[in-house]
């Protein structure tokens, strides 16, 4: 294993992504906006930097960027959650009160669903939570394994006025989402039908189900339905640790959902993903404050557990993203960092560069540890024409970032993009890039990739090449946005049609030695890049005090 030292490990801690002060974190839980505060709960081990002893951590924010750590919200103190207060979701009832459904791992490791609610609804901080005396409210039904029944969703209203939830599970190798109706969240009626099922996908964790507008760019409350609405099912695949989603039609009357395109159904390996990098156990909530749907996702580590223990923490949360249906393609979602992230932008520099084939250019932005980059790329028209008129160039519909050699494999029209978190000599670098090939009927086929294979000289790190095809419509330029924050890089292509989050652990490209490069590794294309780079400020994330909260001290 690489001899990590405190200097390197300290640098890895992020500056504007949410993470606890120390120890382990995983799934986002029960996000909501209440009385002026965004609440974020999370799976947290208060005792170590590895998974275990899970409680609900709790933090609040006014803007989803700056956070105050609050006391732990719920701990395993009952037989029905003795082995962990696991993932759950919040629902606002008609009177504005909140109920929280969460999975408990019982004293015998059976997964059951439990009900909790705020002790004092007038408290905007929701500091104290009461567990319902009749817990558990749901136990694994017949035919479902004791350890295959977890992560209840936010409830939505049926046309008959009941509340409906779905819970992920599996039967043999078929991933399923069970459906329950309730009127009081204490007693439930199970549907014999499933919301959805997909063979050979394994256990579905952290199922999410929500509507998206076919016409509007605003988000929708979870209970909204109608002719202008599509419904999204997301499930986290236990087997692969990938979050897959699919878009389809929900039938309220029989509580089922049908995908628009069965060939890219939930969990199918060629199907849609929120993020083609490291992104799991995600959960959305409707932000009634700004009329948008926001997506949280857990970003684990790509280093070893031993390194996590040494640095004393593990995992971050992705920058919250707005999520809407792509109203141009109608085939995918688009995700974009919440607008509040712009409040962290400091000085900026604008660049217009034309770079020929096989060129790497340093971008003079000073230290490049915390950046927000927005870029547009254009391939020289003559080069494009030559390429597409050349009949000897065959269509390449099978190109994949993972298997085609990464950013060093040169093609006619790519790769080109940025190398972030690079050192002066490029011994460490993480290229985020486009690669353009000839697709069917001589159309452009564009993939968006992140290559972490040279991101660090350390050997005890997973260094994949991530990526996917990204739709580029007629008249659109190639665009990308990259958020760089120490050991995390989030890339968004074509306005968020494709996203890639990666964790990288440079050993030389750290502190003041971190550089940014623009590169064009294509053989035949000259590329023009117009981009702006902002230095990013630190977010204010620390334990709360009475002063922070604007409330009188209790002492």
């Amino acid at each position: 294993a690489f001899p990590w030292n405190n200097t390197i490990l300290s640098w890895q801690r992020t500056a504007f992504h949410f993470q606890p002060e120390k120890n382990w974190m995983n799934d986002p839980n029960g996000p909501l906006f209440y009385k002026g505060w965004y609440h974020f709960f999370y799976q947290y081990n208060p005792n170590a930097a590895v998974w275990g002893d899970i409680v609900w951590g709790h933090a609040v924010s006014k803007d989803l960027i700056h956070w105050l750590y609050l006391p732990i919200a719920m701990v395993p103190d009952q037989w029905y959650d003795a082995n962990g207060v696991w993932t759950g979701s919040a629902t606002f009832l008609d009177d504005g009160s909140i109920v929280m459904l969460y999975t408990g791992s019982t004293d015998e490791f059976v997964q059951v669903q439990n009900l909790a609610y705020p002790e004092d609804p007038s408290d905007p901080l929701l500091l104290k939570w009461v567990k319902f005396s009749g817990n558990p409210v749901l136990v694994p039904p017949p035919g479902i394994g004791a350890k295959d029944f977890r992560d209840p969703t936010t409830a939505w209203k049926t046309s008959s006025g009941k509340w409906r939830i779905t819970i992920g599970s599996k039967i043999n190798r078929t991933g399923i989402s069970l459906i329950y109706d309730t009127t009081d969240f204490k007693t439930y009626e199970k549907h014999e039908t499933l919301l959805h099922q997909v063979p050979n996908t394994g256990m579905w964790e952290c199922v999410d189900f929500y509507p998206v507008s076919k016409t509007q760019l605003n988000g929708l409350d979870t209970s909204v339905n109608g002719p202008d609405v599509k419904h999204v099912i997301k499930a986290s695949m236990d087997d692969t640790r990938i979050d897959h989603y699919a878009i389809g039609t929900y039938d309220d009357s029989n509580a089922t959902w049908v995908p628009d395109n069965p060939s890219i159904d939930v969990g199918i390996s060629t199907g849609l993903r929120y993020d083609y990098g490291k992104y799991y156990a995600s959960k959305t909530f409707y932000d009634q404050n700004k009329g948008r749907r926001i997506l949280w996702g857990w970003i684990g580590e790509s280093d070893s557990e031993a390194a996590d223990v040494q640095k004393g923490w593990s995992s971050v949360q992705g920058i919250p993203r707005t999520v809407v249906l792509d109203t141009r393609t109608h085939k995918n979602l688009v995700q974009w960092p919440v607008e509040e992230i712009k409040s962290l932008r400091l000085s900026s520099k604008k660049f217009d560069m034309t770079i020929g084939p096989g060129t790497v250019v340093p971008v003079d932005v000073g230290s490049a540890t915390q950046l927000d980059i927005e870029a547009e790329f254009e391939i020289k028209t003559d080069d494009l024409k030559l390429f597409f008129d050349d009949d000897s160039v065959e269509a390449d519909n099978k190109f994949s970032c993972e298997t085609n050699g990464g950013s060093t494999a040169r093609g006619a029209l790519g790769p080109f993009g940025f190398s972030v978190l690079a050192d002066e000599g490029l011994s460490e670098q993480t290229p985020v890039y486009f690669y353009v090939t000839k697709g069917k009927h001589s159309k452009l086929n564009t993939v968006f990739c992140t290559d972490t294979s040279r991101s660090t000289l350390a050997n005890d790190v997973v260094k994949p090449i991530y990526g996917s095809f990204v739709p580029v419509l007629k008249g659109e330029k190639l665009t990308m946005r990259i958020l760089v924050d120490h050991s995390i890089v989030e890339g968004f292509a074509q306005g968020g049609r494709s996203c890639i989050t990666s964790r990288v652990y440079p050993t030389k490209a750290i502190y003041g030695a971190t550089k940014l490069f623009l590169f064009n590794n294509a053989i035949d294309a000259t590329v023009t890049a117009s981009f702006t780079v902002w230095q990013m400020n630190n977010a204010f994330i620390h334990p709360y005090s009475s002063d922070d909260l604007g409330v009188p001290s209790s002492t």
Binding site: V50, W51, F109, S453, V462
Partner: protein, 93 residues
């Protein structure tokens, strides 16, 4: 870790044996060769047992690697350990 503990009782078995050997020093010359043979055979037996335990030790270690704490508790795998070893090949996680 668990397998290290499993080896401890075997190691401790050797101590009583060596003590008994030292106890035999005052015994008669006639009986000494038998004791020596017994000690040698016992030693060989212990070595065989030790080797067997080493094999078992490796096997149990492999089991632990696939059944981590979160897996045993009933949630998805949380760690990359075991994956990063292949990362130098550029394999996808």
């Amino acid at each position: 870790m668990a397998s290290t503990e499993a080896l401890l009782p075997v190691t401790s078995l050797q101590d009583p044996l060596s003590e008994s050997r030292s106890d035999q020093i005052p015994e008669t010359r006639r009986r000494r060769p038998i004791k020596v043979h017994l000690a040698v055979y016992s030693g060989l037996l212990l070595i065989a047992l030790y080797v067997t335990l080493i094999v078992t030790h490796d096997g149990s270690k492999a089991e632990i690697a696939t059944e981590s704490r979160p897996r045993m508790a009933g949630v998805s795998e949380k760690s990359n350990d075991g994956v990063w070893i292949s990362s130098d090949d550029g394999k996808v996680e």
